[in-house]
């Protein structure tokens, strides 16, 4: 025994008490989060499920709540998210590959790194203002799908870049050396070994970024996405609306009927987001198994 130590039984009893307290606090934290989520889901579903039917999914917005539908917003969200992915994923992965595999560690590149990290924390409304000035006015894209997708791409890019860089960094350097040692170039090494191994981690970042983009309202309102769109987008220059904007519009109407439409819209948005995430997670897990390096 160490001189001056407390009796063992006493110490163990105190530790057990502390552990019990900690356990209760931790369970409470989980319970509060789950209860909040549960209340939200219950609220949305109890109001929304009644309104959610085939007519709601296949109709355009209307002045009469019972005839209103979310079709234009679903189509708009689908186009915007597809375009945003098509723009931000290649750009983001490209930037991450450059920063991790090619860039020299100099002051300029360090400055780029710090700025990208900061960009991830910029409020989304700021991206809306930038999109309004840059895409809508200067590039004269107007309130088009393209302007919306470009604005959301700006928002998604920092998250994609940061997570892709982290994923690339976890690829063991021994794998790179192995490829170089058999005469692979830097690009061959990146394409054949680094990117496939980093893929699951890159997917995680893409899931996060795109899920955020699908639920974003503020920047799109800022660039003037419409709230009343009675047609499907016809091209990249077409005006559009997205689900969160449609929901926002319905919530702000006084009629009770529109309130139900909003709840139904939330249910649709939640289900689509979860489906998108689910698909991405399945893909990620598949590649995680395929390229597992854990035993290395």
């Amino acid at each position: 025994m160490i001189q001056g130590a407390q009796p063992i039984q006493k110490i163990i009893a105190a530790q057990k008490r502390n552990e019990a307290i900690f356990r209760v606090v931790a369970i409470a934290a989980v319970a509060i989060s789950l209860a909040t989520l549960g209340a939200l889901l219950f609220d949305a579903f109890s109001d929304g499920l009644r309104r959610l039917d085939w007519q709601f999914l296949t109709s355009f917005p209307s002045r009469k709540p019972e005839r209103a539908g979310i079709l234009a917003a679903i189509a708009g969200s689908f186009y915007v998210v597809s375009l945003t992915s098509a723009i931000s994923i290649p750009l983001g992965i490209g930037a991450a590959v450059y920063l991790e595999e090619y860039a020299k560690n100099n002051r300029f590149n360090r400055m780029i790194e710090v700025n990208i990290t900061n960009l991830a924390g910029v409020p989304s409304i700021i991206y809306g203002i930038l999109g309004l000035e840059l895409f809508v006015r200067m590039m004269k894209l107007d309130r088009s799908l393209m302007a919306g997708a470009l604005t959301l791409s700006l928002l998604a890019l920092p998250t994609v870049i940061i997570s892709a860089r982290e994923a690339i960094r976890t690829v063991p350097s021994s794998i790179r050396q192995a490829a170089y040692a058999v005469g692979a170039t830097r690009w061959q090494t990146t394409r054949d070994h680094v990117l496939p191994l980093a893929f699951p981690g890159i997917m995680t970042g893409i899931i996060l970024a795109i899920s955020r983009a699908i639920g974003e309202t503020a920047p799109l309102i800022m660039i003037g996405a419409l709230t009343y769109v009675a047609f499907l987008p016809t091209g990249l220059d077409s005006p559009f609306t997205v689900m969160p904007i449609q929901i926002f519009n319905w919530v702000s109407r006084p009629q009770k009927g529109f309130f139900e439409c909003a709840a139904a819209g939330i249910v649709v948005l939640l289900i689509l987001t979860l489906m998108l995430n689910g698909l991405a997670i399945i893909l990620r897990n598949y590649y995680q198994r395929k390229f597992s390096v854990r035993s290395l």
Partner: protein, 258 residues
């Protein structure tokens, strides 16, 4: 420093070679001729520069931003260390096996064929032949011939290291660099790799870095002792281990120093 090595063709000629990491002078004025179809061992305490030197033969130090070098390493009349020579070309001719086995997380066959594939070999029958030949040369064929499509990571450590040797051999290099190839292996796997090295010198010029004196004595024809970036002694292995010319070499190999 004596260099009275048996006559034989010189494969690699190191001339007045110096290397630095930032301000640290890692290799000091190295001159040595590495003989063709011999095994040359490099020994010396940690930090003596032997790994730095071996990595100069296939330009792996190019990836270290603070690395600088002067002098020449001549191979077939060309200076390998010349910055106008493409390191990819060097690495195709000079293969390397690393301290820790590092197979690609792909199938056994894909590990072997990766190099030939990026060199443009497409024909399936040719690739299959390369897989068999390389694995046979690496003394691994009999153990894996029935599971060429399974993951390289399912092999044991020693098998993985032999797969890495097969991967290097598939490129049909002239020189094979082995940087402490057995340091992560058990004695049985080690002895298999040592037998392999002795067989391989018929076709290849081999350089091996090792911390294991017995290993250097068992597998090598010539041994170089490096200390603090200097080549202290370079001679036939039997001479180094029985009658070294330098007191420092004797102290190191008998374990009184380092």
């Amino acid at each position: 420093m004596s260099q009275n090595l048996n006559a034989g063709d010189v494969c690699l000629k190191v001339e007045k070679f110096n290397a630095w990491y930032d301000q640290f002078h890692a290799l000091k004025d190295i001159n040595m001729d590495i003989r063709k179809n011999k095994v040359t061992a490099m020994i010396g305490p940690s930090g003596c520069g032997k790994s730095t030197l071996i990595r100069c033969f296939n330009r792996m130090n190019d990836f270290i931003p603070t690395f600088r070098q002067t002098g020449k390493i001549l191979f077939e009349g060309n200076d390998l260390s010349d910055r106008f020579i493409d390191p990819v070309e060097v690495r195709i001719k000079v293969g390397m096996v690393f301290q820790k086995q590092n197979p690609f997380p792909k199938s056994i066959a894909d590990n072997v064929t990766y190099g030939p594939k990026i060199m443009g070999v497409r024909q399936k029958s040719r690739l299959d032949a390369i897989v068999e030949e390389s694995l046979r040369n690496a003394a691994l064929w009999d153990e894996v011939k029935d599971k060429l499509k399974s993951s390289a990571l399912s092999l044991s450590g020693g098998q993985q290291q032999r797969l890495c040797i097969a991967r290097a051999l598939a490129m049909q290099p002239d020189v094979l660099l082995l940087d402490e190839p057995c340091s992560a292996l058990d004695p049985i796997a080690t002895s298999k790799i040592e037998e392999l090295i002795i067989q391989l010198k018929e076709k290849y010029t081999i350089l091996i870095v090792t911390h294991n004196m017995q290993q250097a004595a068992r597998v090598s024809d010539h041994t170089a002792y490096l200390y603090l970036g200097e080549l202290i002694e370079y001679d036939e292995t039997t001479k180094i281990f029985t009658a070294p010319a330098q007191k420092a070499t004797e102290d190191y190999i008998t374990g009184r120093m380092g």
